[in-house]
Symmetry: C2
Subunit: 336 residues, 2 copies
DNA sequence: TTGAAAGCGCTAACAC
DNA sequence: GTGTTAGCGCTTTCAA
């Protein structure tokens, strides 16, 4: 059977309190310190997390609820978050709700039963109702990538300035003389989709250009969706002279569609993509794109969570908005 | 403060044992059953997992250690596993070790400290040493996708018959008259890479064809790698007439390279890809490919783990080998 | 600094 | 079927 503090106590002749203190960073005489270390090694003692949790009411575990695992943007953020949290000895339980609000609520409830200390969520349900049990239970919540208006002020969040990102990308194309800009968005009614749509519209409005409805497509943030959207746009009688594709997967799908159609970038059409520059590597060496700061998003989310966790209910929720960057490659050309 | 069983006991006048039994599926009189349910609702009581764990020595948590989260094959398996395990009330802690053996060993140690009940691992370290602590501690281990010879017999595993998969694909191309078949593999010395290489070589040998070394490329299982490998193969003086690309990401990269080079599939070259048919959807509607049974892999891994968990050390480790399927699309043509 | 002792909330053996 | 009771292994007053 695994050794307990009692065994260490017997072995060293020290009291339980001293040993406990040793493992919690308290002051222990150097001599005793060594005594404990030796005994622990000898008995291969490891503190029992269950007992500790029972006493401290903390699981040192954070739940993460996301719409899906098969999305490069999401997994890159999770990887970073997990790293940061693990450094502070927090484990991460990931629940994929397949973009289903019912599953999402179940995941939250499951995690609450598991007594996670905090919840990080890229929400599917736009009402935020699924998080109410967590809020009521005093479990800190950090939203990632998407805000939830109904519960704003009650939870922290890390997002990107999506409207600005889209505005910037659109403006760049406008500045290059493009007036017919195809926009490929994610699923309707998702936070990022709406904000990016706004940014696009703003840019057009500011330039005094009337948007053409048929140039705006919804590609569901999937490779397939991007592919289809580009094909549809390219079969329009009045083709756009530029394309703005608003996530990684759709960008790949879109590029595939173009190359399949024999349409050259940037000679025949200008393209602005989204996310994940490194992975494109050799493939689209010079794609102009909007870079979201995935690493910073993950880091900030973890940091916010750790602060909330350390603050013991005293820390106020806050929203961090990060900027995107327009990386100018050579996939765009002035309109003719 | 959260209600405890004691509160329910006071509220209902029942003993602790009865209440505990109720929550553990024991026999309780219908009347009392109702009494407890009402009281629990009234006090919004939830059993404390910490206390339960302390007593039962089980965390109802399984650790999953993988090389990376940003790979479609891996995430699709995790999604399924998580589903199955969660159904049985097990939480899943995922640790991404970025294909780094040191990080992998750390992850195992971390999870052991967190007292996971079991470990599922797609191993990076080929020695299996990282799992020794788990084995010694009696924590059941299930390997996924890759076997570890040094510790065989001590852990369970779910793999695919990779050699057979590669042989089958190669044979199909051979049967179509192709003799110069470009093979694009993953990272060297990874289990699946080696097995698939074997299968390819076997097929050639059986057909009495001498392999050409320069037709075998390592694309690191990345999009970029696949892209580069195809470009390299296509710049050979003696081009292959067919390509066999052995994972999803490399297949996409490879297809992009081909379409960029203006090489038509299947008119100019035959292609067999790998994995993830649904996602290709409209994009490569008829790509011939090797389908790995991701769902079955995830399900079997979860099932093996649940059996090991339920068996209390009595269940013997076993290895399940699943077959792949050759899905014949129209991306191959007989060689001219 | 250190030790003794009282729980944290639950399970399970045992007696009824 | 139900109640009593003794821990599970740790943290944390409190006193020394």
């Amino acid at each position: 059977m695994a050794a307990t503090m009692k065994d260490i106590s017997r072995e060293t002749g020290l009291g339980l309190a001293t040993i406990s203190k040793f493992y919690n960073g308290g002051n222990v005489r150097a001599k005793n310190r060594k005594l404990i270390e030796d005994a622990a090694r000898k008995l291969s003692f490891v503190p029992n997390e269950f007992a500790r949790s029972l006493k401290t009411k903390q699981s040192r575990t954070v739940g993460v609820v996301i719409p899906e695992l098969g999305n490069a943007f999401i997994t890159s953020i999770i990887t970073i978050m997990e790293d940061q949290l693990r450094k502070m000895d927090y484990a991460v339980i990931v629940c994929d709700c397949r973009s289903d609000a019912r599953r999402e609520a179940e995941a939250v409830s499951f995690l609450l039963h598991k007594r996670v200390d905090g919840l990080i969520n890229m929400p599917t349900d736009t009402t935020g109702n699924h998080l109410l049990p967590a809020i009521k239970a005093g479990v800190p919540v950090v939203l990632v990538d998407r805000l939830l208006r109904p519960i704003r002020g009650q939870v922290s969040a890390v997002v990107v300035d999506n409207a600005d990102a889209a505005e910037q990308g659109t403006e760049f194309l406008l500045a290059n003389g493009h007036r017919d800009i195809g926009l490929i968005l994610g699923n309707r009614s998702i936070f990022t989709t709406e904000r990016r749509f706004e940014g696009y519209m703003n840019a057009l409005k500011n330039a005094g250009i009337k948007p053409r409805d048929e140039l705006i497509r919804y590609g569901d943030y999937t490779m397939d969706g991007g592919y289809n959207a580009v094909k549809a746009l390219m079969s329009l009688p009045a083709r756009p002279s530029a394309l703005f594709i608003t996530n990684f997967e759709m960008t790949i799908g879109g590029m595939l569609a173009l190359s399949e159609l024999g349409i050259k970038v940037p000679e025949d059409i200008s393209v602005i993509g989204f996310d994940k520059l490194d992975m494109f590597g050799e493939i689209f060496p010079n794609l102009t794109l909007i870079k979201q700061p995935q690493n910073a998003i993950g880091e900030q989310a973890a940091k916010l969570m750790l602060e909330l966790l350390a603050g013991g209910g005293e820390v106020l929720p806050q929203t961090i908005t990060l900027s995107t960057q327009l990386y100018i490659g050579s996939s765009t050309l002035p309109a003719r």
